[in-house]
């Protein structure tokens, strides 16, 4: 309780990187002096199925590790939308990738706001398919403002610093992916 807590749920196929996004964002929030809690879903479905990350960020102690409905729900596959409908409520902004075929039919009617962003397409065309999850991370930050871009860049450095050292171009690529995600959210409002 206490101050307002932002609740973010991320769901996708195993390997799409939702757990990494959650880890980096909460790490950034912690470094910014906020209270953060990240609870992964770690059932057997990780071996080929929907992976879910529950993130809560606020100013005071976080209560229960999971929540009923999120403020923002990011779905990266059709199965993720289907399986996680229960986490979408009248206060939830649902964000999904516009390349997901059949997503519209699965969107729960009660969501507060629905945004389809071309993260997969844009990252593939302009950056590299592998930074898709960082584009999504930028979108989460753009939509919620839970951490500053500066802090997000530092958290990326902490997580991927080793790889950046080997290939400094990767740093720029990841930073651009972060900005792309933020801008996609800004531009895709109704």
């Amino acid at each position: 309780m206490g101050g307002k807590v932002v609740r973010i749920a991320l769901a996708g196929e195993g390997g799409q990187g939702v757990q990494s996004i959650a880890e980096i964002i909460t790490e950034a929030a912690f470094n910014e002096g906020k209270e953060a809690l990240y609870c992964p879903n770690f059932g057997l479905e990780q071996r080929g199925g929907v992976s879910i990350a529950f993130v809560q960020i606020g100013d005071s102690r976080i209560g229960a590790p999971k929540f009923k409905t999120g403020d923002i729900f990011i779905a990266l596959s059709l199965r993720a939308i289907k399986r996680c409908r229960q986490y979408i409520g009248p206060e939830t902004t649902l964000v999904y990738d516009s390349s997901i075929v059949g997503a519209e039919a699965e969107v729960p009617p009660n969501a507060a706001r629905v945004m389809a962003i071309p993260a997969i397409q844009r990252s593939k065309e302009e950056l590299h398919p592998r930074v898709f999850n960082i584009v999504i991370m930028g979108a989460v930050i753009g939509a919620t403002g839970v951490v500053t871009m500066e802090q997000a860049r530092e958290a990326l450095e902490a997580k991927l610093g080793g790889k950046f050292k080997q290939n400094p171009d990767l740093r720029e690529l990841n930073y651009r992916a972060l900005e792309m995600g933020r801008d996609l959210i800004g531009k895709s409002g109704e």
Binding site: M1, E23, T26, E27, F30, E35, A36, L37, Y38, C39, P40, N41, F42, G43, L44, I62, G63, A64, P65, K66, F67, K68
Partner: protein, 361 residues
């Protein structure tokens, strides 16, 4: 022994990692273990960290063996511990029983998962009965139920001390959420906070002549005569009762004028506490009670907390495990008991608030 943590250090990590660090800070010498989700990373982090501090690890062929090798390490005078979950906790009941019988200062970290059987690898509070009274004895154990990463750290350190001081097997019981989630906590050097670590000493193989320099050590877990065992159990129970007021822990808030007291433990107590705050803000006189030790149970404190209330709402991620303990300890108190019992799934504050309002009608 060089201190593991210099001063204090605020960190953001998983509960399993916290448990491994806490065991290091508590001066644990060796871990015996066998992998099982959601406890695995206690082992993984321990195996990474232990060699840096001259500590040891042995992976055994199964949990039965991990429990018994822990018993062996303790007899040799090592601060030994283990960690497990679910079916592993079931298999370890036999060595835990031996630790009870021989009064070995065994420490086990339990991360509860869904049951029965393999259930889920995720989360539950269904190992309460098993951890408190699981053996073929009288449950002469100490069981802490933690609610946060800070508490995992605090109670692992405290758990080793209590085990070595009172010589009853001690359990620090979390759950899959606490094991796997990340949140902030402060690691510290126990000495810097004035916490004295109880030293580990060999229990067998002592020097000196028996009968001259020292008494004989007779560790026994089998007796020929029923009366012999009866006598041992009388002493064990007397020691346990004597210890109880010194180790029992709980948290009680807003109970004096409460109409209904919400009783919860472990990670669910976080939602319980939030629910009571929400209810109070809405004008409902709700109370909050959380047993921190599930064994020994804070009977006296709970009976005092409910003195002025009419009803108790037990909330747990199990069907009837905390509730059974609560009812047993409130036997003969005229009270209505209701439960929000959700076996193997998490509980949030809003659900407790809703149930509370239904129950007060």
């Amino acid at each position: 022994m060089a201190s593991v943590i210099e001063g204090e250090k605020k960190v953001f990590m998983t509960g399993n990692e916290v448990a491994a660090w806490a065991a290091l800070a508590a001066g644990a010498d060796i871990m015996f273990g066998y992998p099982i989700t959601p406890q695995n990373e206690v082992m993984h982090y321990w195996t990474r960290l232990a060699p840096r501090y001259g500590r040891k690890f042995l992976q055994t062929e199964d949990e039965i063996s991990a429990g018994f090798t822990t018993c062996g390490g303790l007899q040799a005078g090592c601060k030994a511990f283990t960690a497990t979950a679910g079916p592993g906790n079931v298999l370890m009941q036999e060595p835990y029983g031996m630790a009870e019988a021989m009064r070995l200062p065994l420490l086990a970290i339990i991360q509860q998962r869904g049951g029965p059987s393999s259930g889920t690898v995720v989360y539950s509070q269904q190992e309460v009965t098993l951890t408190t009274y699981g053996g073929n004895g009288e449950g002469h154990r100490i069981v802490y139920s933690t609610a946060s990463h800070q508490e995992i750290y605090d109670y692992v350190i405290k758990g080793f001390n209590v085990a070595w001081k009172y010589r009853f097997p001690t359990f620090v019981m979390g759950d899959g959420y606490q094991a796997k989630m990340r949140e902030s906590m402060v690691m510290y050097d126990p000495a810097a906070r004035g916490i004295e670590l109880v030293p580990a000493n060999p229990i067998i193989g002592l020097s000196g002549e028996i009968g001259v320099d020292r008494e004989c050590v007779h560790l026994c877990n089998i007796y020929s005569l029923e009366e012999e065992l009866y006598e041992v159990l009388q002493k064990m129970e007397a020691d346990y009762q004597k210890m109880t007021p010194e180790v029992v822990e709980y948290d009680a808030r807003f109970c004096e004028d409460a109409e209904i007291i919400v009783v919860s433990h472990g990670v669910v107590s976080r939602a319980g506490q939030d629910a009571v705050k929400i209810l109070r803000a809405q004008g409902f006189p709700a109370g909050y009670f959380r047993p921190i030790t599930l064994r020994p149970f804070p009977q006296e404190a709970l009976r005092k907390a409910v003195e002025n209330c009419k009803k108790v709402l037990v909330v747990e991620s199990a069907l009837n495990q905390l509730q059974r303990l609560v009812k047993e300890n409130l036997y003969d108190v005229a009270l209505e008991v209701d439960a929000l019992a959700k076996p193997a799934v998490g509980i949030i504050a809003d659900e407790i608030v809703a149930r509370y309002k239904e129950f007060r009608k």
